[in-house]
């Protein structure tokens, strides 16, 4: 088992919480579980090790070490996973979130999906049961395994944001998606809105494109088609941050900086509002107003950089 600089497992205990969703909420926290399944062959084992390392490190930068549970090797067994769900069910607050990431191989026998881990596999029923006992508004399951698309139909009525590497259970070949998904956590090109954060949506978009490009450039028939299924209005993937590309140490912020951040947030909201009105505006009018707002935003950002001592590049 490769080294991971986060505690390997805390069975059944949730030690801390941290904001993961970008929606402002002082106390909301996200409970995160990363499970690395069996590689089977050495090549896959290395791949999964690397993916778990990358994703784990990135999540740590967002979630913080105490809130992140990583299961790998013999620790990644069904009982420990179910204990984790039990713990969240007991400890989570009403506005918390739950994120589960599965990296490895999956199988689907046309009846039930299973994620391959030591001992009994983790089944669809286990995942359904685990999530169902958690009462939080945002539940997210990321599954980069083969056949993971079998969960799409099975969980479509559940309030779970679900990312799968395949579009159904019959895409049974080992997937490439996980490799590109992990890469998105450290790749500036995946940061489409250039806010120095990688959201679930951005990571998905990046990995989906990279996977498609891989099959195209190799002249291969794609044997996997990733899918992102969001319940309701589908806001969670865009708002959920999975990785920070820049430093995020906000603990030493001065009152002036805090005020500027508030101004920036207000401008962001105005820009967002303008975008919503775009269809009814002429393109020139939109560009004119957008430019004015951008100039305000730039001015605020210049002041932030000045106070922060950064050059903004």
């Amino acid at each position: 088992m490769s080294a991971l600089h986060i505690r390997s497992v805390v069975t059944g205990s949730i030690v801390g919480m941290l904001l993961l969703l970008n929606t402002p909420s002082a106390s909301a926290e996200t409970h995160t579980l990363l499970v690395q399944g069996l590689g089977g062959e050495a090549w896959y084992q290395r791949q999964f090790d690397e993916q778990a390392d990358t994703i784990g490190e990135a999540l740590k930068s967002v979630v913080g070490e105490p809130q992140l549970t990583i299961l790998r090797g013999s620790d990644a067994n069904r009982q420990v996973v179910m204990d984790w769900f039990d713990g969240i069910a007991v400890n989570a607050d009403d506005d918390d979130s739950a994120l589960v990431v599965l990296i490895g191989h999956g199988t689907f026998d046309d009846v039930e999906y299973k994620f391959n881990i030591p001992g009994p596999d983790l089944s669809f029923s286990d995942l359904q049961q685990g999530f169902s006992q958690i009462n939080v508004p945002a539940k997210v399951l990321i599954n980069t395994s083969s056949s993971s698309g079998a969960l799409l139909d099975a969980l479509k009525e559940e309030p779970i944001t679900l990312l799968t590497a395949t579009k159904n259970g019959r895409e049974r070949n080992a997937t490439r998606f996980g490799r590109f998904f992990a890469r998105a956590f450290v790749e500036t090109a995946a940061d489409l809105d250039k806010n120095q954060k990688i959201s679930l949506q951005e990571a998905f978009d990046y990995a989906e494109r990279a996977t498609n490009d891989f099959y195209e450039s190799e002249g291969l028939l794609a044997t996997e088609h990733a899918f992102l299924q969001q319940p309701g209005e589908g806001q969670i993937a865009g708002r959920m941050t999975l990785a920070n590309l820049g430093s995020q140490d906000d603990s030493m912020q001065s009152p002036e900086l805090i005020a500027l951040f508030e101004q920036r947030d207000q401008l962001d909201l105005r820009i967002e509002s303008l975008r919503l009105r775009r269809i009814g505006m002429g393109e020139q009018d939109y560009e004119y107003v957008f430019q004015i707002l951008m100039l305000d935003l730039i001015m605020v950002q210049d002041e932030i950089d000045l106070l922060d001592g950064v050059n903004g590049e």
Binding site: A189, L192, D193, N195, F290, Q291, I298, Q301, G312
Partner: protein, 778 residues
């Protein structure tokens, strides 16, 4: 993975010799029919009394006639489906009638269902092992599919004096046709004389003979009309009298005459569907899609079973969607509706653009900048070198789907060509058609454009080998990769195989006798040109081209231009080759062993051993730069040793020798950028545009370095191409565009692009700063 750029090229439809020569139209029975009523109608048909023949056949479709007679009559009237039902019923009524099975099989062959036809011929032979017509028909189908056994089977039929005369005549004609394809005129003469002797007074048996003699005249560059007249005297509606010589014009690249004779064929026989198809293909070959469609549609109406027709019509629908751009841009022909006028770069007299690119709309934005630049450079280069100005616009079509390209080239998919030249029209695979391969499309384009010059400068009077030889030679001397590249498997073949004599080199392309011979022939042809350049001077190559244009044959050209007999030439060329490549061939086994050793050490992570063996392989064959090049092995071993500087030195040598493995060279370019060797990095990346133009990162990196070197205009092109690739990170693409436009002084467009970038990413700090700069200067 394999490096690809070459030797899947072809001048024209050479590869479809057999298929294209299938049925010209309704086939004569050659004695397979015995029923007097049927024979009466057949005689009317083959003497050109078509209306009377039709009435006669119609009269046979009644219940009083045997089922097989009805089937034959219905077939003769063109209703092949009903004919099939009637044959089926006839066969049930007479299950042991082998002759009926042969005719039923012939109907299947007539509807392009070769396997079913063969099954029926086989059934017939089981019932009657001596059935001459079943043997003949089997041999014909085998010949169409390229089976070499067919020739022996025809010969056996000719030798067997117990065979019906018609069978022996047809077998002679079939072998004469093959002889003419191989340009073996004397052999063809003998066969045709024998066929004529066998035919005696049966003038119908002479029809195909005369048509083939017309073909022979074309092959010998003589006037075929005497023989055509003789055939038409027997049957004024005999389209093959023209279609057969047309075919031989086609395979000798004389497309004007090809079109003229196919047109005459359909003029005398309007239901000659094969001639309509070939005429359509020739129109397309000459960049005339409208009449091409007209004849394809006529042919389809008469022969809907022909898969080549179906493919061609589908292709034509797709073809119509292509984006067409003429160069120099803003030239008179560059946009619809533009009026002629004087534009820079245009020949004022002919007022035609130099180049027309036909590209798939989804590839246009990406390929057009590079394909046009390279093609225009090729046109200039070859114009200068061969002293020939093109008389028409050169058209280059690039296909993103290999099967579409092959249908364009040959009518049917399933062949591994990369490019084809029809004269002024070139068609080729796009990099997307060769996904997964390191396909050097730039070299393919260069090769095909060279064909335009050799074909047109020689007025299409050129043997295949010389046109291919010049194209290969130009790749090596003036193309994007300027180095002589002989594939290893060619050297391997030459350990046991001899080069063909120069006078017979065409047969290496047309009728290869061993697996690698076509590629060996490409290399031999290229090396002959290289040999001529080195020993006699480059102008002699031009003289050879012009001599071919004057109608001189190869022995004459060699004598006239080089002052040698072909025998002496072959001796001197052999000495040249031995001097240049003899040592490489000798040490091929050792080189391979060292390669294996290096790769084994690499996979064992024994870096020192891998380095040593790879270096040994490099020293033995320093010019070998294919995907399994020891340079790449060495570079990987150096990565293992974490010696990045040495790795990059190795990759740079690989690149300078002509290597183009995409991933390694992208890494090299980034390294060179880090070393502040910007101009070298640019050269590496620009070379890769001719391999991987759909690689987004390539355009971003190249654009960034160009911008860094204040080459904003070139950077802008790269960013525009990047945007055309629909990048996920649109903010970065628009920011880069804005930056390039800012440097070019186009502040308004720059502002627009930067705002677009910020719309996608409001916190994109570099874009924010650029916006401030732009607005400060507006």
């Amino acid at each position: 993975m394999a490096n690809k750029h070459l030797y899947g090229c072809c001048l024209t439809l050479i590869l479809c010799f057999s298929a294209c020569f299938n049925a010209y139209a309704r086939e004569y029975h050659y004695g397979a029919l015995e029923n007097p009523d049927l024979l009466q109608c057949e005689d009317l048909h083959w003497s050109g009394e078509l209306s009377a023949a039709k009435s006669c056949f119609r009269g046979l479709i009644n219940a009083s006639q045997p089922l097989f007679v009805q089937a034959e009559a219905i077939w003769a009237l063109g209703d092949r489906k009903t004919a099939n039902s009637r044959f089926s019923a006839a066969s049930k009524a007479e299950p042991s009638n082998s002759r009926l099975l042969v005719r039923w099989g012939a109907l299947y062959a007539d509807t392009y269902q070769s396997q079913e036809a063969l099954n029926l011929f086989s059934e017939a032979l089981q019932l009657d092992p001596d059935n001459a017509y079943a043997r003949l028909a089997t041999a014909e189908i085998l010949l169409e599919s390229g089976g070499t056994d067919a020739l022996e089977q025809f010969a056996a039929l000719i030798e067997d004096r117990s065979m019906p005369v018609g069978v022996r005549v047809k077998a002679n004609i079939a072998l004469a046709r093959v002889a003419l394809q191989r340009d073996e005129s004397e052999r063809a003469d003998t066969l045709l004389d024998d066929a004529a002797n066998l035919a005696g007074n049966d003038i119908t048996l002479l029809l195909a003979n005369y048509a083939m003699r017309a073909g022979r005249a074309v092959r010998a560059r003589e006037d075929p009309d005497e023989w055509i007249t003789r055939a038409l005297d027997i049957n004024p509606a005999y389209g093959d009298a023209y279609a057969i010589p047309a075919y031989f014009y086609m395979i000798t690249f004389r497309y004007d005459e090809t079109g003229e004779y196919y047109q005459r064929a359909v003029d005398v026989q309007a239901d000659h569907w094969e001639a309509h198809l070939s005429l359509a293909a020739n129109h397309l070959r000459q960049n005339r899609p409208t009449p091409a469609r007209e004849h394809y549609e006529l042919a389809y109406a008469g022969d809907p079973f022909n898969p080549e027709l179906v493919n061609s019509l589908r292709l034509l629908d797709y073809y119509d969607t292509f984006s067409v751009t003429s160069y120099p841009e803003h030239s008179p022909g560059s946009s619809p509706g533009s009026s002629p006028g004087n534009s820079p770069g245009i020949d004022e007299e002919r007022l035609l653009p130099d180049l027309s690119l036909r590209l798939d709309t989804e590839e246009k934005e990406v390929l057009a900048p590079y394909a046009s630049r390279l093609a225009l450079k090729a046109l200039d280069t070859f114009s200068d070198r061969y002293g020939f100005e093109l008389k028409q616009t050169a058209t280059i079509e690039i296909y993103p789907n290999h099967d579409d390209f092959i249908v364009r080239a040959l009518g049917m998919p399933g062949t591994a060509l990369l490019g084809v030249a029809f004269g002024y029209v070139v068609a080729m695979d796009s990099p997307n058609a060769q996904a997964g391969e390191d396909y050097h499309w730039g070299t393919t384009l260069w090769h095909e454009v060279a064909h335009i010059f050799t074909l047109e400068a020689s007025k299409h009077n050129i043997p295949r080998w010389f046109s291919e030889g010049v194209s290969v030679f130009e790749e090596w001397n003036t193309g994007p990769i300027k180095t002589i590249r002989i594939p290893l498997h060619v050297l391997e073949s030459l350990r046991t195989q001899e080069f063909l004599p120069i006078a017979e080199l065409d047969s290496g392309f047309v009728q290869p006798e061993y697996q690698n011979q076509v590629i060996v022939s490409y290399m031999q042809a290229g090396l002959i040109c290289e040999f001529v350049k080195r020993n006699f001077g480059f102008p002699k190559l031009v003289d050879m081209l012009n001599a071919y244009g004057d109608g001189v044959d190869t022995p004459g050209v060699v004598k006239e231009v080089l002052g040698l007999s072909t025998g002496d030439f072959d001796v001197q060329f052999s000495e040249f080759f031995t001097t240049e490549f003899g040592e490489q061939i000798k040490q091929l086994d050792e080189w391979r062993a060292v390669q294996v050793q290096a790769n084994k050490a690499l996979s064992d992570e024994s870096w020192d051993s891998a380095l040593e063996a790879a270096q040994q392989a490099i020293d033995m064959m320093p010019a070998y730069i294919e995907v399994d090049s020891p340079y790449l092995t060495k570079a990987r071993a150096l990565v293992g040793q974490e010696n990045i500087d040495a790795q990059m030195v190795t990759l740079e040598t690989f690149w300078r020798n002509g290597g183009y493995e995409a991933t390694s060279l992208f890494a090299l370019a980034k390294y060179l950028q880090e070393q502040d060797r910007f101009d070298d990095a640019i050269k590496v990346l620009q070379s890769q545009l001719l391999v991987a133009p759909f690689d987004l990162e390539l355009h971003f990196l190249l654009g960034d370095i160009l911008l860094q070197r204040e080459r904003a205009s070139e950077a802008l092109t790269e960013y525009q191409v990047a945007l055309a690739l629909n990048p996920l990170d649109k903010a970065a693409a628009h920011y880069r565009l804005g930056n390039a436009l800012y440097q070019l002084g186009d502040l308004e467009q720059s502002r627009h692009n930067v705002l677009t970038a910020l719309d996608a990413a409001p916190h994109y700090r570099p874009a924010q700063k650029l916006l401030k700069s732009i607005l400060g200067n507006l």
